[in-house]
């Protein structure tokens, strides 16, 4: 198994001794090894399955939902679990709770994922540029981020959404702005850590320009921390979106939304506590699942374990 036997022009066989120190292992690419570790992590897999189920249910809501989420009924208001085939009961206007939760998942996922994706693109770019350029460019970008960072995220989201008025689009815009600073900071930290390493200097010595170096040597090292952090922000974003709706700054009735449903049903908490808690349960389960999947990804993507 000597490394020297493979190449005929090797006149230095005695020096090739330390090539035997590591036994031949199966060689995988980075993403293959991530996938391999994920496949051997049953907890993450289980929660990823739940996340997938939630996403699929939301996408195929018209097919899955047993009732029309908007059809109300005067006599069927605030009924318990299982009343006349309403599996999770009915809300204060007699609409089917389960169907409204299923449709509400669409808004929740939209508000959870879209702002994080956009913020990752913008914040990640700013962070990489700042971290790689250094100097006054970095100072300018990061101090601007610090201004936004100084506000608590809930307050900032409420303030932006409140200033622009409610609605799904404004809500998503507000959440995007809230998430740019932390993502930018993660990307900036990862970039400036990598930038000072010798392999960047070696790349410069081989004649590569800054864009080539960023593309080949920086992005690969920054993507993983940003991706992991962003995946943990999805649940935060969903919670904040529910909060905005709860305050009347997000989705408007009668659109089904978990935060909004929680807000309206809180008055009936003494009448049907279990039914009224259902939107909260949905938020809880979804965000916990996203968090656990994000944790699993973090473990699987860390090469230097």
């Amino acid at each position: 198994m000597s490394a020297a036997t493979g190449s005929p022009d090797l006149a230095i066989a005695p020096q090739a001794l330390d090539t035997q120190a590591v036994p031949a292992t199966q060689v995988r690419s980075y993403w293959q090894s991530v996938l391999y570790r994920l496949r051997h992590d049953p907890v993450t897999l289980a929660f990823a399955a739940i996340v997938l189920a939630i996403i699929l249910t939301a996408i195929f809501a018209p097919e899955v939902a047993p009732f029309d989420p908007y059809r109300d009924s005067i006599i069927g208001r605030l009924k318990p679990f299982g009343w006349r085939n309403h599996l999770l009961g009915t809300d204060d206007l007699g609409r089917d709770m389960l169907s409204r939760l299923i449709y509400g998942g669409r808004i929740a996922l939209l508000m959870g994922i879209v702002p994080v994706v956009i913020a990752s693109a913008i914040g990640g770019t700013l962070g990489v540029v700042g971290g790689f350029a250094g100097g006054w460019i970095n100072t300018a970008i990061m101090r601007t981020m610090d201004v936004f960072y100084a506000f608590p995220s809930v307050l900032l989201a409420v303030a932006i959404a409140g200033a622009m008025g409610g609605g799904i689009l404004n809500g998503m815009l507000a959440l995007t702005l809230v998430f740019i600073p932390p993502i930018c900071r993660i990307a900036e930290t990862a970039t400036s850590q990598v930038r000072s390493l010798d392999f960047i200097e070696a790349a410069r010595a081989s004649g590569a320009g800054p864009l080539t170096i960023i593309r080949h040597h920086v992005l690969g090292n920054v993507l993983a921390p940003v991706f992991i952090y962003a995946s943990s922000l999805v649940s935060v974003s969903m919670l904040l979106a529910s909060g905005l709706s709860f305050l009347g700054l997000g989705v408007r009735p009668p659109t089904p939304d978990w935060g909004l449903m929680l807000s309206t049903l809180r008055q009936a908490i003494w009448v049907q506590p279990a039914v009224c808690a259902m939107p909260g349960v949905a938020i809880f389960i979804t965000s916990v699942c996203f968090n656990l999947v994000s944790d699993g990804l973090r473990a699987a993507m860390d090469v230097r374990l």
Binding site: A3, A11, E201, H217
Partner: protein, 354 residues
């Protein structure tokens, strides 16, 4: 010393030094040490490299030794223009670097490459080592497949089976293997000169010997010229044809390796050599040859920079800066010390001249 087969890129012929550095200077501003009211005027500067001149002969290995912080690594980066010098001239094979009619920095970097000390941080952890090696040729405009072939060939040249080690990540390799990959990466650019910045300092002794032998072998096979930086005197003695000794950003002594090790001229070199552990128990020394740390390079002492620690220091040493006596010819052995300048007025100088 036998010169390697003529290189098509050779412009100046065998007598033209491959690299000449003349009065290279690099001072770094110290962060947070601004002058009054934050004006850069009063800013303190670290004099990392302060007026270094030398020449590297084609096909030789020039060793550079000195304590930590004496400017060895800064010097290495200056030679590749990874750090732009504040002042001074670099001439590569007769062409001045980054001058209007000279050689461009990009062209210089195709011919001069560097091997870094820390084999861990000098390889991208998210890149198979094969791709790290292929990156240079790829950046130089070769198609991916050709760059990868160069990488395979280079890995084989440094004694790593390309099929077995090429697809691996740095964390799957040992320190010696990583350093071999670093050497392969530098060689993939097809350089004529390689600057080796402490290439074996982080390795075990047994691996160190293997890598040193590999370096000697590659030098012969590819006709390379080395600038070998190290703080390990025995390593330098083993590999270098000529040696340059640095102290606080300056050259204090330069000369052929055997002459310098047999009869060091500068008191600092003498102390350095005396500090080596001896193989002979009877010759072990109890007292350290020099005491204390090197002075702060932010505020180096006036005159000879070594006078604060020199056992022979006299008034003239703190008053005047000794020049490195003009070293003509490749066998010249010179030291920047008043003792070796009969006109300096140092009490030992006259005795030496007599």
């Amino acid at each position: 010393m036998s010169l390697p087969a003529p290189d098509a890129r050779d412009r100046g012929g065998p007598q033209q030094p491959l690299l000449i550095a003349r009065d290279l200077r690099k001072h770094f501003a110290v962060k947070g040490a601004k002058g009054a009211k934050g004006r850069p005027k009063g800013r303190k500067m670290v004099q990392a490299v302060d007026g270094v001149s030398f020449a590297v002969r084609k096909g030789e290995t020039l060793g550079v030794v000195g304590e930590s912080g004496c400017g060895k690594s800064t010097l290495a980066r200056l030679l590749l223009h990874l750090i732009v010098p504040d002042a001074g001239v670099l001439v590569f094979d007769g062409d001045e670097v980054a001058a209007p009619r000279g050689i461009a920095v990009a062209a210089l970097r195709r011919q001069v490459q560097m091997v870094f000390q820390d084999s861990y941080s000098s390889l991208n952890p998210r890149m198979p080592v094969r791709d790290s090696v292929a990156f240079g040729p790829y950046v130089q405009g070769q198609p991916k497949s050709a760059a990868r072939r160069v990488a395979q060939d280079m890995l084989a040249q440094v004694g790593l089976d390309p099929g077995l080690f090429g697809p691996r990540y740095p964390h799957e390799l040992s320190g010696g293997q990583k350093q071999r990959v670093n050497i392969a990466r530098a060689l993939a650019m097809g350089p004529r000169m390689v600057v080796l910045d402490e290439p074996v300092s982080a390795l075990d002794k047994s691996i160190e010997a293997q890598v040193l032998n590999l370096l000697l072998d590659l030098k012969q096979r590819l006709g390379l010229t080395y600038l070998f930086i190290s703080h390990d005197l025995s390593v330098v003695r083993f590999i270098a044809d000529r040696v340059l000794v640095m102290y606080l950003g300056r050259v204090v002594e330069i000369g052929p390796s055997d002459m310098l090790f047999a009869r060091p001229l500068h008191p600092y070199t003498q102390a350095l050599l005396a500090s080596r552990p001896s193989m002979d128990p009877a010759r072990r020394i109890e007292e350290p040859p020099i005491v204390g740390d090197p002075p702060n390079p932010i505020d180096p002492p006036p005159g000879c920079r070594f006078h604060t620690r020199c056992p022979y220091a006299e008034a003239v040493c703190s008053a005047r800066d000794p020049a490195l006596t003009a070293a003509e010819g490749w066998d010249a052995h010179a030291a920047a010390c008043h003792i070796h300048d009969p006109a300096s007025g140092h009490s030992l100088a006259s005795r030496l001249a007599a």
